[in-house]
């Protein structure tokens, strides 16, 4: 049983029934799931959660689902103490929340597992999304698992590697010839025209709740406490706001103490509308035209930008906008120190963390969580010409020793 009570407008607070709705008919504000927290407090406990499955679904009581789960074991990913990277950055309490290891290698499996489950509960037989990568992978995979039809819309100029990771699940894959704005507009119109569950449009209020599990897990993995700092990448800003919501839910339910977490937000400089609005002191985000290597963060008109700005102000968090070349440096630094190959969004987080640490925003002993939300093999083109190149040799010892020369001086051969 779910403790979700209603959908509520985030602007005017009007309430709506738990249906596939996403926008307030009165003020066009976005809708969010509201819960009966008193009933939830009576039903949940640390012990009950600990007995649950080793996936995001151990927090099922906190999610708006009545029906059966479309379960690919998303979530409950490792929280790794990052001593090597922490040493470089001067942060003794640094942890990496490694969401690369989800079923389709990004945190989108969390939101999509919930969205596809909810779509099936609502009686839809078709799910859909518009995506340049991670979301498409997750929707296609979960639709396959749920035996539902899937329509996936991608920009026609998308790299082949990203198409394969979706096409393998055999959805109906539609490549849209048009610029980014045209693809956005088309998919918005299609969502109103066809009786499909567009996961991030008409199912969005439910979908986005899946991100809260990234806060629950971190709190549980830290021994039921909130961290001092989180640094979260932002595209729409939804994940960032939901981590904050998740921590506060745990606190209000008495599962953790007071939340004093400072929520830091990281964007690529080529698409940083939330960072720029915060720096200007604006309460509203001015849309931009994205131009960045970090395609998974390229949302020029972020749906939750205004709410992310509120969390930044409430939590006392900082912001970082990283140019493309430093994004790659961030990816390489994470790989070389912690052995984690993250996608470009991970580079944005690590580079952002470095600049916040250098600015003194984080004290050396404080607990910091860096959210790494997607795996690097999806975006190899970002780094392929910047990483070490293989040394090609003939299949002889002489060729090996001649080619490696200086590198072998410190090595002593046997005999």
């Amino acid at each position: 049983m779910s403790f979700a009570r209603a959908l509520r407008c985030r602007e005017c607070h009007r309430e709506y029934p738990l249906q596939p709705l996403y926008v307030c008919e009165f003020c066009f504000g976005s809708l969010e799931v509201a819960y009966d927290y008193q009933a939830l407090a009576r039903a949940t406990s640390r012990e009950k959660i600990a007995q649950g499955p080793l996936s995001m679904w151990r927090y099922r009581d906190f999610l708006p689902l009545e029906g059966e789960v479309v379960d690919m074991n998303a979530g409950f990913t490792p929280l790794l103490k990052a001593d090597n990277l922490g040493g470089v950055l001067g942060l003794k309490g640094l942890y990496i929340k490694n969401d690369c290891v989800n079923p389709t290698y990004s945190f989108k499996d969390r939101v999509v597992s919930l969205a596809v489950s909810k779509a099936r509960e609502f009686g839809f037989d078709t799910v859909a999304c518009a995506s340049t990568g991670n979301l498409a992978n997750a929707v296609a995979a979960h639709a396959a698992k749920a035996r539902m039809k899937a329509f996936i819309f991608i920009p026609a100029d998308l790299e082949k590697g990203k198409i394969v990771g979706t096409a393998i699940y055999r959805p109906t894959l539609v490549a849209v010839e048009g610029n980014y704005d045209e693809v956005n507009r088309l998919c918005g119109e299609l969502a109103e025209r066809y009786p499909w569950a567009f996961v991030n449009i008409n199912i969005r209020p439910y979908y986005s709740e899946g991100s809260k599990t990234l806060a629950y897990e971190v709190a549980e993995q830290l021994g039921w406490r909130a961290p001092d700092h989180c640094i979260v990448p932002a595209a729409s800003g939804s994940l960032y706001t939901k981590v904050w919501k998740g921590l506060h839910e745990l606190s209000s339910l008495g599962l953790i103490g007071e939340v004093k977490t400072r929520m830091h937000l990281a964007q690529p400089l080529g698409c940083a509308p939330i960072v720029q609005a915060f720096q200007r002191g604006d309460k509203r985000v001015k849309p931009v035209r994205p131009q960045t290597l970090a395609k998974s963060l390229a949302m020029g008109n972020p749906a939750d930008g205004v709410y992310a700005l509120r969390v930044l102000r409430e939590s006392g968090g900082g912001v970082a906008a990283t140019p493309d070349e430093e994004i790659v440096e961030g990816m390489m630094l994470l790989a070389e120190t912690e052995g984690i190959f993250a996608e470009t969004a991970g580079g944005v987080v690590i580079a952002g963390l470095r600049s916040l640490a250098q600015a003194g925003a984080i004290a050396p002993g404080e607990t910091v969580i860096a959210y790494i939300t997607g795996a690097g093999p999806k975006t190899v083109e970002a780094v392929e010409d910047k990483i070490v190149q293989a040394i090609t040799i003939k299949p002889t010892v002489a060729s090996f020793e001649q080619s490696l020369g200086a590198k072998l001086r410190e090595e002593t051969p046997h005999g």
Binding site: C27, N134, N200, A345
Partner: protein, 80 residues
Amino acid sequence: MAKRRVMFTFPTELVTEPIIYNLGMQFMVVTNIRRADVTEDRGWVILELEGKEGDIEKGLAWVISKGVKVDRVTGDVVEG
């Protein structure tokens, strides 16, 4: 009749111009403002447009040509 929900963002030089009035008058589009924030140097308006599809398209093209930024109310939908 078609409906479209949009957000207009006005640059400083257009804040004093009656863009929404002219959109209604010149293109036979019914404009229904739901939320707005306009100061002396910038402004945004969230509104619903109702009219013939072609008239809405032409009207929005005119609004864009005047220098107003037109976006979806609910943000971008193409996710990474």
